[in-house]
Amino acid sequence: MSPKKLSLPTMNDWVAALIREHRVFGPQAKGDRFAYDLLGCAADLRLDHDVTILPPRKYLMPPTEVLITFTRSGKFESVMEGEPLVLFGVHPYDVAAIAQMDRYFTQDHADSHYLARRKKVTIVACDVQSASENVFAACMGTATVPDGFDVLLTLVGETYVVESRTAAGDALLALAGVLEDADAVSLGRREQLWMDAQKLLRRQNLRCRVEDLPGLLDRSYEHPAWRQKSELCFSCGSCVMVCPSCFCFDVQDEVGWDLVSGERRRQWDGCLLTQFACVAGGHNFRRLREERYRHRFYRKGKYLHDRCGFVACVGCGRCAAACTSGIASPVALYNSLLEDQ
């Protein structure tokens, strides 16, 4: 569908209509920060958010989810969770991260639990209106995204330009009523805005290109930065929990009160946590903080790249904000590796 124009009042009505028809999750204020939550009314939606504490990943792969139910006598059943929902106001870098997740969970072996949720999600993306202090999406090529969404919203001055790319997007947009085509001026301003985003979303600056990262890491395995920085690491996992492109998980069984039936759940796990690579008997394949700390950057910057073709970082800067020690920022780390090249 060609790009349309959406005035602010129409936008408001559209959101209200969406809320009536669908379960719509969007960024809302949470204290001094922002978080995705179920929208009760259009006024709660904060499209001017800089970044949310957690990425929308929590709707595609919740902190804990049931995989199967079982009985101790040996019956197993799949549980496919996931109800239709609309993610509204997703920033481009998060759209890019969802595309990475799609790739990760379908490559080689398709993860039917992820897909069960993913297929029911409609994404209304929104170009960034205010940048967070840690953001470097422009360095990672995710300041704007060409696809990966159903609808894209861009605020140009006093109106939104809205563009649907899929049938699901068209259906959502139909609730806005009849819309005018976006005029050339608005479209021009949108182009300009996309160009500006390359500056706006570069609050931190990576001193090399994304494509150079795997090679940089190839040369840096023994770099002293790993040890130096990881001395401050708590193995607290905050950096990986908040990351839109971290997907590791743990699996645990729990029986119910009948002591016969139960559920097997997966929950977020992270390679920074002490026990992540620990096996029965106590041997830990990444015993040292520096090994765990280094692994995270390698997994993101090289291993997943070699496997799936993307650097598993979209430059949202959430990890940098979440790390109490201030050592999790990929930009700072890569730049310090670059210094000694």
Binding site: A110, R165, V251, E254, R264, D269, F285, Y298
Partner: protein
């Protein structure tokens, strides 16, 4: 949703198949042999060196190598060491009780590939004999397809030796060279004493014709590789099986990563040439 790549497979790879413990044989103080049959009546269809994820419902899952040969059609065998929650719970299961099985997963020893027609040296350390046994049985069942067959086995003490009947069978067979050693002998032990690497120079290995299949603890590999180099075995001719913490078995959970490799899908059986420069491997 846009990506056409999101083809949904209806198969839930996390769903175990119900299976039954057919028999249990105590091998040592900590290891027990389980004979297991899928309730569907289907074959497991594994290759030697592959593993299954075994569920004890309510306790969890653990990756366990299949210890029987694919030739065996009525069920399969697992050797389980009591190590933690799941493995202990397995030991507590009685015959007739239910387990869940996913898999087989992972790579296997190339018994159907480069090993054919070559001399084969099996090097097993401790419970490493369990996965290798699958390959040994296969090779002995198809003896004519392979050259000279050597089995080297090392354990910490005589009490930890597995499959005593089979060991003595192998040592009697004219078409198998079987040698073993223990780190520490006891009063009744008459055989070799010392680390397994000692056996390598005396086993009469013709490096050029040989493929080595090894399985044992990480520390064993370090020394075995050095000894194999000493008799000019090439990296490409060495296969090792690596163990890591695992949750999914299908390359999603992230736990078993060995640098960029996954022990579950790229392994557990690796060609040594492929992991030479993988820092976390050995």
């Amino acid at each position: 949703m846009t990506a056409e790549a999101l083809i949904c497979s209806d198969r839930d790879l996390y769903l175990p198949q119900p299976a039954t413990v057919v028999s249990k044989t105590v091998l040592t103080a900590t290891e027990t042999l389980f004979e297991i049959r899928l309730d569907s009546g289907e074959e497991l269809k594994h290759m030697p060196g592959q593993f299954v994820e075994v569920t004890v419902p309510g306790v969890g899952e653990a990756p366990i190598s299949v210890s029987s040969s694919p030739d065996r059609k009525d069920g399969f065998e697992l050797v389980v060491r009591r190590a933690g929650r799941v493995t202990s719970a397995m030991h507590d299961r009685r015959c007739g009780e239910k387990l869940g099985i996913r898999g087989p997963f992972g790579t296997h020893y190339p018994v159907d590939g480069v090993m054919r027609g070559r001399d084969i040296v099996f090097i097993a350390g401790g419970i490493g004999l369990a996965p290798l046994r699958s390959a040994i049985h296969w090779v002995l069942n198809h003896r004519q397809d392979y050259g000279k067959v050597t089995v080297l086995y090392g354990t910490k003490s005589p009490a930890e030796r597995l499959f005593l009947d089979e060991l003595s069978d192998w040592s009697c067979r004219p078409d198998v060279t079987f040698m073993e050693t223990v780190d520490r002998a006891d009063a009744n032990w008459k055989g070799n004493v010392g680390v397994i690497t000692k056996l390598i120079p005396t086993a009469g290995i013709d490096a050029a014709r040989t493929v080595v299949a090894a399985c044992g603890p990480p520390i064993m590999y370090k020394f075995v590789i050095v000894s194999l180099y000493a008799i000019d075995v090439m990296d490409e001719s060495i296969y090792v099986s690596l163990e890591r913490r695992m949750k999914c078995g299908i390359g999603k959970c992230g736990h078993c990563q060995i640098n960029g490799l996954y022990a579950c899908t790229d392994g557990p059986v690796f060609n040594h040439a492929d992991i030479l420069r993988v820092q976390e491997a050995i």
